[in-house]
Amino acid sequence: MARSWTPEQAASLAPDAASLKAAQGLASPRKWTLLGRDERFVWGLAQGSGKDPYQSQIDLEETAFKCSCPSRKFPCKHGLGLLLIYASQPAVVPSVARPAWVDEWAAKRAERAAKAEAKAQETVPAPDPEAQAKRREKRAANVARGVEYLEGWLRDLVRQGTAAVQGAGYKFWDEPARRLVDAQAPGLARRLRLLGGLAGSAAGEAQLLTGLGRLHLLLAAARRREVLAPEWQAEIDSQLGWTVEQDEMRGRDGVRAVWFAAAQTSSEEAGVVTRSTYLFSGDGRSAQVLEFSHASQAAAAALAVGRSFEGELVYFPGVEPVRALLMAPPADAPRRPLQFLETCAELQAAHAARLAVSPWREEFAALVRLTPANDGERWWLQDSAGEALPIAADFKAGWELLACSGGRELEMCGVWDGFAFRPLSVIDEAGATPLG
């Protein structure tokens, strides 16, 4: 059966604010000369500026959009508007037989799915071990050079002192970051750029020092990679930014469970949008699924916040890995009771335990049941024992948090980094509400 959508979930798919506004303008039956749906698809004809109306359609099962309009946004305003109508006023979208153009797309999708299935079944030809080893060797040599270079750069930095680079500007950090990308270590480049963003702000000073320390630890570990256990090698590889092939992931054991998509964040870098979804299962497991999309490319947005589904996750290799890959389209399933941390001490201890295993697990996503409070200057999360942890200073939705709590304990999903908690969503019986 097709999953149901809430208007908030639909709105969360908007690629930007302008698209959402345009889509809200289209979220009215008056804008459509035809609306229809069946078990799997929703479709409509929207009158645009051209002679023929645009054919807009949505595959609800896989949350895929198609529209005959020339927009390069994805989903386009028509698709999003159509979903908004379906979500907010399902009664105006009658259940009728598919028109030919929907049938056509359905057939194409089925064909593609069959092909993908067939390809997955195919035995992957064993890669040429010799060529593979050669590639690996070359990459290792490249990275080793990058590591050596960055170590020297860091030494220079601490010799001069961080005060000397506070006003150094973007280029100071970007230049070495580029060299690290060339050295096939994009993970190092990413960390370096993040540090560049902290330098120069008084509030970022402590975080900058901590970040430099972690980066140094990573370099030290990378140099010793060969003598470490396989899971540590994998961990370091992932920290360096090496991706694991999909085929290799397919071969790994997955974890089947009913997962709850508790929160989502997204960030954009160089035209690529990374959507990160925080999943939790009833037995206390958690995972983070990253989805990447281009403005011009289809976004697989199946993991809307508040959705509960049954599915198999395969964790990326590493030490107590958090990142995982969803192996098949998720299927709706009733939510299982979730486990929440109820004291500050529990949250701190769980985070510290992760850090003890790997110093690069700096961000700890957790479900907490704590009471938000405000002292006129900043926001806190307090437990029944009277202990409180600070909420991130730049968190904007403190009053929303207080409103949802009513001055009592509130179930939330958020990220704790050892210094401040950043709430991402409020969890309630109906699902989860993202916090702005």
Binding site: P29, V158, A163, A403
Partner: protein, 497 residues
């Protein structure tokens, strides 16, 4: 000795003595750092140690227990589909539809969903307090009290702690006074009087105005004392409040003065309304907060008369002369005192609202037969007069003047719901051309206001009237979208949860 963080800031090239471990827990690891042979390596290792240790070893802050939370709500929260429409109504062109949403929410017996409360509070104005109150629920009422910036929205049913008057912020204290004036006017007055002399002038002015609610003869002694306040605005507020109490000494004196100043003379052939300007300023007037010095450009005698006449309800003149409102205004305009009297009567509406007088002034001023008192702009006139007119008459007044300038547009916010079908159709017919051509004064928000005033049954007719061959203008599109939004609100609130 420099701390570790200072050392990191200054750089190892300036290092003279090795820094001390920032925490005893790190001592053991610290000893293994080679601050002599490999300063940079030691510094980087130390940064790693300290950073990870700080993240893992954060210390929670002890805080006092959180104050009492909100009582559970007995009513359900508005359906999600209805709530999802809210963000569009909080700002921008559809803002005028927010009161309708709030009204539907109340009608459905539901309250605002918590997550939306802060945004609604941020958008709502103090005038919308009454519309907001029924849908606040326990949660909303509780939350309003938590943020001083929202206290302007506290309504009279809000239960503020009893010591708010002594301990609260100015906004909280006013909210307390407003609420207490409704539940126990005498007690509110007693508390207000207690520290009156020490209050700031601004606060005295605002607090005194709150006495309008629950006003009674019991307030007279205190108000009489305020007639000699240092601040002019306080004196005048006290004067207006006393004038509203027909049995007050001030009201009696003012009535007497007005009777001798404004006389109705009946001859064989003509009736006249005459003003007998006073020869000099009577010192006794000063004790009743009549100002002696007029503002620039106003004659002093006219200024005195206006202040006195403005303190007397217009109804008094009707009784005294046995004439109707229309006759009285007509007589005044025929005589040489027309301008002075119309200004005084216009001002008297603030003391004693009078629907007949308001309607008469509306007709004459906006019909062009009378100069606007005090040179008031049409917008201000409509906003003052129309709300004072009888609800049933407001539509007629607005429609009768639809052809004149902006009157119909300016009237929109003050028209009551549920007009007669023909009235709604006439309003639509009068305003549709401007909407169709995108020539609406005030732009799309005004077009939305029109849509808000019309019954949903006129939707098709509205679409027909604003259609253009080459597609609708942006204003017309917004106008029709307002209808759609209203329809969506209704669907969302009537859906079974």
């Amino acid at each position: 000795m420099a701390t570790f963080q200072q050392t990191a800031l200054l750089g190892t090239e300036r290092l003279t003595t090795p820094p001390v471990a920032p925490h005893a827990a790190l001592d053991e690891a610290w000893h293994r750092l080679d601050w002599v042979g490999d300063r940079e390596g030691a510094m980087l290792d130390a940064l790693a140690l300290v950073g990870v240790a700080q993240a893992a070893g954060s210390v929670a802050t002890r805080r006092a227990a959180v104050a009492a939370g909100a009582e559970p709500d007995t009513r359900a929260f508005a359906p999600a589909a209805a709530a999802a429409l809210l963000p569009q109504l909080l700002e921008g062109e559809f803002r005028a539809l927010l009161p309708e949403w709030l009204g539907l929410c109340a009608q459905a017996g539901t309250v605002l969903p918590p997550a939306y409360l802060p945004r609604v509070f941020g958008a709502a104005s103090a005038e919308e307090r009454g519309t907001l109150a029924p849908v606040l629920g326990e949660r909303g009422r509780w939350l309003l009290r938590q943020n001083p910036a929202w206290h302007r929205l506290l309504d009279t049913s809000a239960t503020l702690p009893d010591d708010t008057w002594e301990l609260g912020s100015p906004a909280e204290r006013l909210a307390w006074l407003r609420a207490r004036r409704c539940s126990d006017p005498a007690e509110a007055l007693t508390r207000l009087q207690k520290g009156w002399a020490e209050e700031a002038a601004d606060f005295r002015e605002q607090a005194l105005a709150e006495l309008a609610a629950g006003l009674s003869a019991a307030d007279e002694p205190f108000l009489a004392g305020c007639l000699s306040d240092r601040r002019k605005e306080v004196r005048q507020t006290a004067q207006r409040l006393l004038a509203r109490l027909p049995a007050s000494a001030l009201a009696g004196r003012m009535r007497e003065r007005a009777t001798s100043l404004v006389t109705y003379q009946r001859g064989f052939l003509s009736k006249r309304l005459e003003v007998e300007p006073p020869a000099a300023f009577d010192k006794a007037w000063k004790a009743d907060a009549v100002e002696e010095r007029p503002p620039a450009g106003v004659g002093e005698k006219a200024y005195w008369v206006r202040q006195i006449v403005a303190c007397v309800p217009f109804a008094e003149l009707r009784t005294r002369t046995g004439l109707g409102t229309s006759d009285l205004v007509g007589l005044a305009l025929k005589g040489e005192w027309g301008e002075l009297l119309s200004e005084a009567w216009y001002a008297s509406l603030a003391v004693a609202p009078d629907a007949e007088l308001a309607a008469e002034l509306f007709r004459r001023i906006l019909g062009g037969g009378m100069k606007p008192p005090g040179g008031q702009a049409p917008a201000a006139l409509v906003a003052t007069l129309l709300p004072l007119c009888a609800e049933a008459e407001r539509w007629t007044l607005a429609l009768d003047h639809a052809g004149q300038g902006l009157t119909a547009w300016l009237s929109l916010p003050h028209l009551p719901g549920n007009p007669e079908p023909w009235q709604a159709a006439r309003l639509l017919a009068a305003l549709a051309p401007a909407i169709r051509d995108g020539a609406v004064p005030g732009g799309s928000p005004q077009a939305v206001l029109v849509a808000r005033r019309l019954p949903m049954s006129l939707r098709a007719e509205a679409a027909r009237l604003v259609a253009r061959e080459n597609g609708p203008t942006k204003t017309a599109d917004t106008f029709l979208r307002a209808f759609d939004l209203r329809a969506a609100m209704r669907t969302a609130f009537s859906a079974k949860p």
